[in-house]
């Protein structure tokens, strides 16, 4: 906190004097500096949120502005929670979340562990691995449809080359069983470096002296790994999982370009489903209720998770 000589002196100075000396008082400067940000966030974030909550209790439809808007109470919520399609969507999202996070944690941690062996040129290779993460998911997702083309696609060719199956015999995007994995693979390609970078920071934060002490106690490498490395990296890893979880729960751009939710609706994640309800079927009230449910879910899960994370950190 700012308990410096200056601010003590500033507080002791009578207000009019301070103004004459300093121009504006610190408090007014603070408000001038913060107000525009808060105002913009209120207009573009809080107002829409409140409006969404209000709309969720009505039967408003954007494409029929002249219809009477009726207050329908909790009916939208009841319909959503009893709709089997929404539960299918939730299942697709859960599948996507579970596998992307699991695979990315495994590969990301392994890569970070290997890079931390500090071989020659590790910085260069780290930078190369990180590249996909920063690119536009929509543009990249669109190009992955090309890699996934049966026969001519590079992905199918590589799989055919390695396993001996005919590259024209399967379609990652067109097949009901493969499409959920197509989005997992593309997401893993893109976001594994994110987990890797965070794990790397965790590994680099472990003091060397811990390992030296373990060496003196003649602890095996295996034991050092499980009693020093893993517990020390765990808070970092959990943070990475939190970020990936929130991001992939919101996932829209990559998957909508890659599969558009298809075939059928096997890859229709919640965001894609919501877009369909709100901007194709124009059921504004209904989709507002949907949005509120999603927001409450993310917020609830994230706060529980953050509590767990803080417990791990304290240990």
């Amino acid at each position: 906190m700012i308990q410096s000589q200056i601010s003590k002196a500033a507080e002791a100075t009578p207000e009019p004097v301070a103004r004459r000396i300093r121009g504006l008082s610190d408090r007014s400067i603070a408000w001038i500096f913060v107000a525009p940000t808060i105002f913009l966030l209120l207009a573009v974030n809080i107002y829409p949120l409140l409006r969404t909550i209000w709309l969720s209790f009505t039967n408003y439809r954007v494409n029929r502005p002249n219809n009477d808007v009726d207050w329908v109470g909790l009916r939208n919520y009841e319909r959503i929670l009893s709709d089997p399609d929404i539960w299918n969507t939730m299942q697709a999202t859960a599948h996507f979340l579970f596998w992307t996070i699991l695979i990315q944690v495994l590969i990301g941690f392994t890569l970070a562990y290997l890079i931390n062996k500090k071989f020659k040129g590790n910085n260069l290779w780290t930078t190369i691995i990180v590249l996909p993460m920063m690119l536009s998911p929509a543009v990249v997702g669109n190009f992955w449809t090309f890699l996934y083309q049966p026969q001519i696609g590079l992905f199918n060719y590589a799989v055919g080359f390695l396993t001996g199956t005919d590259p024209a015999s399967f379609s990652m995007i067109g097949d009901v069983n493969l499409a959920p994995w197509a989005i997992v693979i593309a997401d893993t390609w893109m976001w594994t470096p994110f987990v890797m970078l965070i794990c790397l920071a965790g590994l680099r934060s472990i003091p060397e002296s811990l390992y030296e002490a373990a060496e003196c106690d003649r602890a095996s490498h295996w034991r050092q790994f499980w009693t020093i490395t893993v517990p020390m990296v765990l808070p970092f890893l959990m943070l990475a999982v939190l970020f990936r979880g929130i991001e992939n729960f919101k996932m829209f751009d990559l998957v909508v370009q890659l599969t558009g939710g298809g075939p059928g609706s096997v890859t229709e994640l919640t965001s894609i489903n919501l877009k369909r309800e709100a901007f194709e079927k124009w059921r504004t009230g209904y989709s507002s209720a949907y949005a509120v449910i999603l927001f409450v879910t993310v917020f609830g899960l994230a706060s529980i998770y953050v509590k767990a994370l803080n417990k791990v950190k304290q240990r």
Binding site: S4, R22, G23, I29, F33, V34, I38, L40, L41, A43, N45, P48, L49, V62, L111, L114, K117, F119, G121, N123, T126, I128, I129, L131, P132, M134, L135, S136, A138, V139, N142, F143, F146, L147, Q151, L154, Y157, T192, L197, I198, A201, R204, Y211, E212, F243, I246, K250, F252, D253, L274, K275, A278, T284, S288, Y290, A291, L294, F295, V298, A302
Partner: protein, 307 residues
Amino acid sequence: MEPSGRTKWVASILVVGYALITIIPLLWIIATGFKSPSDAIAYPPKVVFDPTLEGYVNLFTERTRATEETLAQVSEGATWYEAIVHDQGMVIAGPSRYGERFMNSVIIGFGSTALCMILGTAAAYAFSRFRVPLKDDLLFFILSTRMMPPIAVAIPIFLMFRSLGLNDTHLGMILLYTAVNLSLSVWLLKGFIDEIPIEYEEAALIDGYTRFQAFYKVVLPQAATGIASTAIFCLIFAWNEYAFAVLLTSGTAQTAPPFIPTIIGVSGKDWPAVAAGATVFLVPVMVFTILLRKHLLRGITFGAVRK
């Protein structure tokens, strides 16, 4: 405890192997941009091919089919790009919309970044140096705005923009992206400004500077690296954003990400043109990523992890 030579060797083989696999799709995008349409869809996929600029020419032009006679007439004194189009049996009808869309991305990206940095630096400075009432709540509120799925917020924003006449305008998109990026920039910049010793400003204040002068003559230069890297993060986000762009823009203010997937050729998808469009769009970000590599971790974790 330095890892042994053999450990290092094994680690380097595995990491380099992963890096090479991960870079292939990116190299493939760049290579496809220089292929002819038939080379792009050849089986087996062609690694060695005759490079051509056809994809780039198709990306930037609209073309129509022409008869033999017209082709013979126009072929004299044709420029190199006209010649490429004539070889396909077509003539150039005009520029494509890719240039406009790309410029929209530039205007909206830089506009929102500039605005975001002005507002964000001021707010971050205030949060870092003054006792703002409800400071922790405000900071958490700013962060929580990032948890909403964009589609969920898009409904009321769509309604609001429609009534204000901001749908499909540059100004609307700049304001929207500024608001979305503010959470990131305030959190990151607060971290950077916290690291600047407060004694510098106190010395300046004792020397008779006002708060404002101390802010822009002492704090801003010290925070320059932090501000620059935060700006690049905001720019990359605005540049890559797709969900709001596809819902709120369709014509005048449409950015490149919703446009690139809609590029189609005469018969089916013109993959070299798509790849060329993607290359032009992605390469600047790759360059920025390499420049940013030291601050990357901080940026992607909202300043939660610092090296």
